[in-house]
Symmetry: C2
Subunit: 338 residues, 2 copies
């Protein structure tokens, strides 16, 4: 380990994974009996409960700016936690939130943020059952940090694991790539964001239900910090397979590409906050894409496939016909993206 | 509401309660069906699961200093969350933690903190099943904030509710009052803490098990932020009773009294982090105190009793024979106490 915490440790790429690996070693009990946890490090941990698993997840949100085109830190925190439950196949049931806020923070803004959170929970029929409020003295915190913890239930035969990809599976995404990351990056750089581009911040519960209803879903993940590059590498590693992505099939908005070129960032490393990557049985792939499109995910599309891979890797067939490796992102990427 | 967040909003007293009341109004779904949550605002929320309740709780820790006599922010976060489960009668099962840390924070300190957390979890046989790490740029956060979420199970007939106090009940505490608060307050004031005084930071699971084994426990609460004054007022309000405390019976260390006099703070408003206030049936009170003392809680003692009270109030019979009202604490008390 290096000697101090760096921004890269929080960027959700390779350095984050290495730090987490070190910290996880300190904890002797990594799961409840029959459940999953720190060994698997999936989007939610699972605790067995009769015919069900209880899915549980926790995330802290430090996004800067706290209000951004398409959402705010409250909406983001609620959706992020709901999505970590949904991608496991779970139905979100309840949430807790803690708010750590700086002395002098406008109460009106706090109300707005909590209201955004409340709207998401109400639409998703998720109860807020508890939480905490702490205040740090002026200068000890830049505005606000929100932490959300989610609980969901999933029938044991409906569970979707990160390790479920099989060679031959097809990779689907339910919408465009990198919108949230591009919006935040542009805001942080002081670039005026075009009105056509907003964060994709939204629950993926509906997309998951549509796909699960068709069936044949082998793995799912929301590509947040570290973007599609991190999510696909993570799925490939946990499943012991490789993934081939077709660049020409990736749905990326022109504005996102423009900001990425301007600021020198790979759109595949940019966080999405309302997207899910699905690894599905080849036989049902077209049906799932069609169902998603019919029900409002107009940009849902196949982006690649799962292939054998003794060393799990993510490859990209480029538009000009070559193939390159898509590495786990490294370095700072965009700080405080979520 | 005032216009901006103040330190008092985070102090755990009256202002915190008022702010939380406002924020809670925004959330439409305040509990899961048959469970408890934002209406009850107990130490844990309850989610019914067959013969059991799942108890869930979340807290953020912002304590300053992060290392203090008797513990550190990691030990504090693990014990605080375990204690919020234990006082409901629940057996802690699993925890999640999120770490938000400042860029430049020493990795060795992060390891120490996580190790303290791990030791508590291991001793308590609680699994850490998930979490998150975020980094904020230098200057955007004073060192580190840790958030912990705990899950526990409690048999429906073993549940201990904040609303369970009955007139005639006896109030017991398992140890001295205000040690944690006095230590943190002294550290913040730059006073060298006497080696005889350390934070009482410790799980209360053992004390709860001892009391529950005897039986007759009607209510329990860990007096953290806002101290004994807040905890007793909260129990009195939720139970619709009054409480009479005998000043001469309160176990308070001389050093704690000395710091409180020096800094002008009421020891009853100082946080404890390893204490539980029990409201128990009069018939078993002596047996519970004896059992607690035998099993290591040498300062366990009766401190008062529950009386009828149309307007729920906490009274203190003073050493000189008068009676005063113990109000819910107001104002800043000690910032970043936990």
């Amino acid at each position: 380990m290096e000697k101090t915490v760096t921004l890269a440790h929080g960027a959700g790429g390779l350095e984050t994974a290495l730090l987490v690996k070190e910290l996880v070693k300190l904890f002797a009990i990594k799961n409840t009996p029959g459940g999953t946890g720190l060994r698997e490090l999936e989007d939610s941990a699972l605790i067995p409960l009769g015919e069900y698993y209880l899915a549980v997840t926790a995330d802290s949100y430090t996004v800067n700016p706290i209000f951004f085109p398409g959402g705010d830190i409250g909406k983001l925190a609620a959706t992020g936690t709901i999505n970590d439950l949904a991608v496991m196949g779970a139905e979100p049931l309840a949430m807790l939130d803690t708010v750590v806020v700086e002395e002098g923070f406008p109460l009106e803004d706090l109300s707005k943020i909590m209201n955004s959170m409340a709207r998401v929970l109400e639409e998703e029929k998720v109860a807020l059952v508890g939480g905490d409020v702490k205040v740090m003295p002026k200068g000890a915190l830049d505005k606000i940090v929100i932490t959300t913890m989610g609980l969901g239930l999933v029938e044991k035969n409906r569970i979707v694991r990160n390790s479920g990809l099989k060679p031959g599976d097809v990779i689907i995404i339910n919408g465009t790539v990198g919108d949230h990351g591009a919006v935040i990056m542009a805001c942080q750089a002081g670039i005026e964001v075009e009105t056509s581009l907003v964060s994709d911040c939204a629950p993926v519960t509906k997309a998951m239900r549509i796909a699960l209803e068709v069936g044949g879903v082998h793995a799912a993940k929301d590509p947040t910090r570290g973007g599609l590059a991190m999510a696909l590498n993570d799925l490939a590693k946990k499943s012991g397979v490789s993934i081939l992505v077709h660049e020409e099939k990736l749905p990326i908005r022109e504005e996102v590409i423009a900001y990425c070129e301007m600021l020198g960032v790979d759109p595949l490393t940019l966080a999405c906050e309302g997207r899910v990557v699905l690894g599905v049985d080849r036989e049902v792939a077209a049906e799932i894409v069609e169902a998603l499109r019919e029900k409002g995910y107009r940009e849902a599309t196949v982006i690649g496939e799962v292939i054998e891979g003794r060393v799990p890797r993510v490859y990209m067939r480029t538009k000009i016909g070559g193939t390159r490796i898509v590495e786990e992102p490294r370095g700072e990427i965009v700080p405080r993206i979520c």
